[in-house]
Amino acid sequence: MARLPLEGIRIIDLGHVFAVPYACGLMADMGAEVIKIEGPGRLDITRDGPFSGVHADNQPGADSWNRTANFNLINRGKKSMVLDLGRPEGREVLKDLIRVSDIFLESFTPRVMRGWGLDYPNMKQLKSDIIMVSNTGYGPGSGPYSQYPAQATTQEATHGLAHVTGYRGGIPSKAGQSFVDFLATWACLMGTALALRYRHRYKKGLWIDIGMYQLGCYTVSEYILDWLANGRLGERLGNRHPSKAPQGCYPCAGDDQWCVVSVRDDEEWAGLCRLIGKPELAQEARFATHRDRLAHHDEIDGIVAEWTRSLAKFEAMERLQGAGVPAGAVFDARDVNLDPHLRSRGFLETLRFPPERGIGERVIIGRPWRLSKTPLSVRGPGPALGVHNRDVIQGILGYSDARYADLEQQGIVATRPTQLRPLAYMEMDERVRRGRLAYWDPDFKKRLGTEKDEPGVDAPRAARPAPRDPP
C-alpha cells in the first residue's frame, strides 16, 4: 500500500462537536493514529443530548451514544478513550500519552487547559517538540469578545455572513449547518501541516491558536474592503451576482425542484437564448451587456423560469450545461447521496460497522481532495465509546494489568457514560409534520445499496407516506 501523508503520526483529539474532531477525522483518513478522549460524564455532544443529531434508523437503541450519524461521520477511523480529566489520576494518563504523541488538538476555553497545567508552555515541558492546536470561538487575548461563549450558529451573525445573506430586499439570514466550524476544520489542517513541516525542518514544535470568528470575517473580506475603500456597506442580493446577469434559482417541474443558472459572459447569454428557443433576445439592446441585463433582471428571470418550469431539474441542468451555460440542479440530501458524479469520483464512501453495533453500512462524505498516487479513504466508523481504552493505556503506555484495573475501578476510565444528556426523540413522520424535515424516504437503503441484515435493530416497517419520485 502506498505510504500515507500522516503515517506514524500520533494525534490526541481533545476537541468536541465539529471543528477540531472533523480535522482529526480527516487526518485519520490520511494515516494518522488519532486518539479521541472523552470524559465519562462529558461525552462529545454529537453522541448525546438534544443536538446530537439522528440515530441509525431513528432508533436510539441500547447504546444511543454510539449510533448517531454526525458522531460517526466526524470521528471516522479514530480510537476512543474515556478518561476523567477532572481527576489528577486521569490527567496523569493524559500526560503520559502526550509524552509519546506528536500533535495535541483541543477546543476548551483557555481557562480549562491552564487549570489542568496543560497550556502550551506546560505541554512543552512534557514533550519539547509537541504541536498544539487550540480552537476557540473568538480567540484568546486582549480583545473584548475573547471570553464570550460562541458557537458557529451565532457567529454567522457576528462574523458578517448573515448581513450579506438573505433574499433581495429582505432581512438578514443565517447560513446554517455550523458554517464557520468548517473553516476552523481547514485552519486546523493547514496549521498542523505547516507545523509538521516546520518541525521536520527545524526540530521544533509550536502552538497554533485559532479563533473561529476571524476565519468567518475573512470570507466576507471583499465587503470589508469595499467599506474601507468606498464606504459601501454591501447589500443582500439573494441569488444574484454582484456584476453579472442573469443569475438565479429557477423553479422546475415537480414540488420544490429548482435549477440555478449563472451567465458569465455574452456568449453564454446567447447560448441560453438559443437553448430556450428565443435566439432573438440575444440581439436585443436592452439585454446586450451585463449592465443591461442587471437592469432588466426581473424580466429575464420570468423568461428563464417559463422555460425551466416544464423540465425536471436534472434535465434542465444537463440541457443548460450542454449549451455551455453554467447551471446546477439544487441537490437535496438524497440527490447528494445518489449523485452519479460524486459516486464515480469516490467522494461518497461506505462505513462498515462491526455487527455488534447494529448499524450495518452507511454512506458518508469522504474528502474533497484526490491525490493522483496516494488513494485516501476513510479507515473505519466512529469508535464505540471507550473501546480502545486498553489499547491505549496498556498497548501504547504499557501500564500493568493491576494499574489498568485500578483506573477502571476508580472510574477514571470507562466504557459506559456515567451520565447522559436527555435525547430529543421524534418519529420520522412527526419530523416531517413539524417542518424539521422536507420529507423522508423509507427506501433509502435500497437506493443506497446498503440494505443488510442488522442484528439487534429492526428497520422501520410502519406505513409511511410515499416519498417523492427519485430524480
Binding site: V260, S344, T374
Partner: protein, 398 residues
C-alpha cells in the same frame, strides 16, 4: 532571515479567479516564493469588483489585492509554443504549480502534471475546478451559485415559501482556496518523505458538500431529507429583530433555558410549553411572539454584552462590514494588515487567519502589478537578460 515553514519552496500560480489565487497566496504567507503567472491581458481576477474608487481598473480590484498578497507577478503566454517551453523551464525549478483551468486544457498545451513530472518528479500540481478532473460532470461549467446548488447546502438555506437561497459573497471559492492549501501541504509532507510529487485534484462541489456533515448522513442513517425552514414559528435560533438591528440566539452551550428566560425577562418563557427543544419547535409561533416583544426596545450592543458576559448565553448580533472594519476583537487578533499598493494606495486588508508561534503568516509585499516582476523573475530563475525579456515581449510571449 527568520525561518518559516515553507521558505524553501517556489510556487507557480497560473490560477484565476478567487480559489486558486487564494490557495497560492496562503502558501506565500508562510514563506513560499509565489510567482503569479498571468496572460498579457491579466487574469480575470483583475476584473472582479469591488474596485478601489468604484470604477473597474485592472490594478484596482480589491478582491485581486486580497488574494494575491505576497506574490511576485510575471506575464507569459502559455498558448505560444515558446511560452509553453518557458513554463516548463519554470516548472522544472518549482515545487508547486497551482492551476484552475478547465480539465484537459493544460494537457492540450503539454503542461499537465504527467508532462511536467518527467523533468521534475518532485513537482506537486494542485488543480481547483468546479467538479474536479474526473466523472460525468468534469466538463460542466461552474461558479459560486452552481457549487452552492450541487453541494446540497442551498436546498436547506432560505425559507419554504421561497426559492433556495445562496449565501452572500463567494463562500464556496474561499472554502475551495483553503482546501487547495490543505491538500497541497499534506501532499508536500508526503513528497518530503518520498521525493515524489503528484497531482492534487480539488472539486469545489465536493469542498462545499464536505460541510454537509449533518445533512448528508441524515439521509443515509434514516432516509430523512432536511429542507428549508418554515417562515413562521422558527425565529428562535435564527435571525430576530431588535431595536436597532438583528440578533441570533442559540440554546445550548453553558446556559440553561432558565438563563435564557431570565435574559429576556419574560416570565412566560419559563412555561412548560418551551421547556425543551421539541416543545419549542411545537410552540414556535408563540415563542416568536414573546421574543420579538421582549427584544423590541433593546439594542444589539447591549444584548450581545449582557447575554455573553452575564448569562453566558450563545448569542450573536448581525454585524456589518463597517462593524468588522472597526472591530477591536479583530485588531487584538492582528487580523488586519496595512498594505501599501502603488496604485490603490494604503489600505487595511484582512490578512491574519490564525496565530501561531515560530512560523506565523508574515506579510512581505502587496499584490503584483501586471508583469511587474518580469525582469526580476526571468533574470533570477532563468538567467534572462533585459534584452531577452524585451525580445520575448515583442514576440508576444511575455
Amino acid at each position: 532571515m527568520i525561518p518559516a515553514a515553507l521558505d524553501d519552496l517556489r510556487v507557480l500560480d497560473v490560477s484565476r479567479g478567487i480559489a486558486g489565487p487564494l490557495c497560492a497566496k496562503l502558501l506565500g504567507d508562510f514563506g513560499a516564493d509565489v510567482i503569479k503567472v498571468e496572460p498579457a491581458g491579466g487574469e480575470c481576477g483583475r476584473s472582479m469588483p469591488p474596485f478601489s474608487g468604484g470604477e473597474a481598473h485592472p490594478e484596482k480590484s480589491l478582491f485581486f489585492l486580497l488574494t494575491n498578497l505576497n506574490k511576485r507577478g510575471i506575464t507569459l503566454n502559455l498558448e505560444e509554443p515558446r511560452g509553453a517551453d518557458i513554463f516548463k523551464e519554470l516548472a522544472r525549478r518549482a515545487d508547486v504549480v497551482v492551476e484552475s483551468f478547465s480539465p484537459g486544457y493544460l494537457a492540450s498545451l503539454g503542461l499537465d502534471h504527467p508532462s511536467l513530472e518527467g523533468q521534475n518528479p518532485a513537482l506537486v500540481m494542485t488543480s481547483i475546478t468546479p467538479f474536479g478532473q474526473t466523472g460525468p460532470y468534469r466538463d460542466y461549467k461552474g461558479g459560486e451559485i452552481v457549487a452552492y446548488a450541487t453541494s446540497g447546502i442551498m436546498s436547506i438555506s432560505g425559507t419554504t415559501d421561497r426559492e433556495p437561497l445562496k449565501h452572500g459573497g463567494f463562500q464556496a471559492q474561499y472554502e475551495a482556496g483553503f482546501n487547495g492549501t490543505v491538500a497541497t501541504l499534506f501532499t508536500l509532507l508526503l513528497r518530503d518523505a518520498t521525493g515524489a510529487g503528484q497531482h492534487v485534484d480539488i472539486s469545489v462541489q465536493e469542498v462545499v458538500t464536505s460541510t454537509m456533515v449533518i445533512n448528508q448522513p441524515f439521509y443515509s442513517w434514516t432516509g430523512g431529507v432536511q429542507g428549508r425552514r418554515r417562515p413562521e414559528g422558527t425565529m428562535f435560533g435564527n435571525v430576530m429583530p431588535c431595536k436597532d438591528g438583528y440578533f441570533v440566539n442559540q440554546a445550548g452551550g453553558g446556559a440553561s433555558w432558565n438563563d435564557v428566560a431570565d435574559f429576556y425577562g419574560h416570565p412566560d418563557l419559563k412555561d412548560e410549553r418551551f421547556a425543551d427543544v421539541n416543545q419549542r419547535v411545537i410552540n414556535g409561533q408563540a415563542l416568536d411572539e414573546l421574543l420579538v416583544e421582549a427584544a423590541k426596545d433593546r439594542t444589539m450592543g447591549e444584548m450581545f454584552k449582557t447575554a455573553s458576559e452575564q448569562y453566558r448565553i450563545l448569542f450573536g448580533i448581525v454585524q456589518t462590514p463597517a462593524d468588522l472594519a472597526a472591530c477591536a476583537q479583530l485588531e487584538a487578533r492582528d487580523f488586519y494588515q496595512e498594505v501599501e499598493h502603488p496604485v490603490i494606495g494604503t489600505i487595511k486588508a484582512p490578512f491574519g487567519l490564525w496565530n501561531m508561534t515560530e512560523t506565523p503568516a508574515r506579510y512581505r509585499r502587496p499584490a503584483p502589478l501586471l508583469g511587474q516582476h518580469n525582469l526580476e523573475v526571468y533574470g533570477e530563475i532563468l538567467g534572462y537578460t533585459e534584452d531577452d525579456v524585451m525580445r520575448l515581449r515583442q514576440a508576444g510571449v511575455i
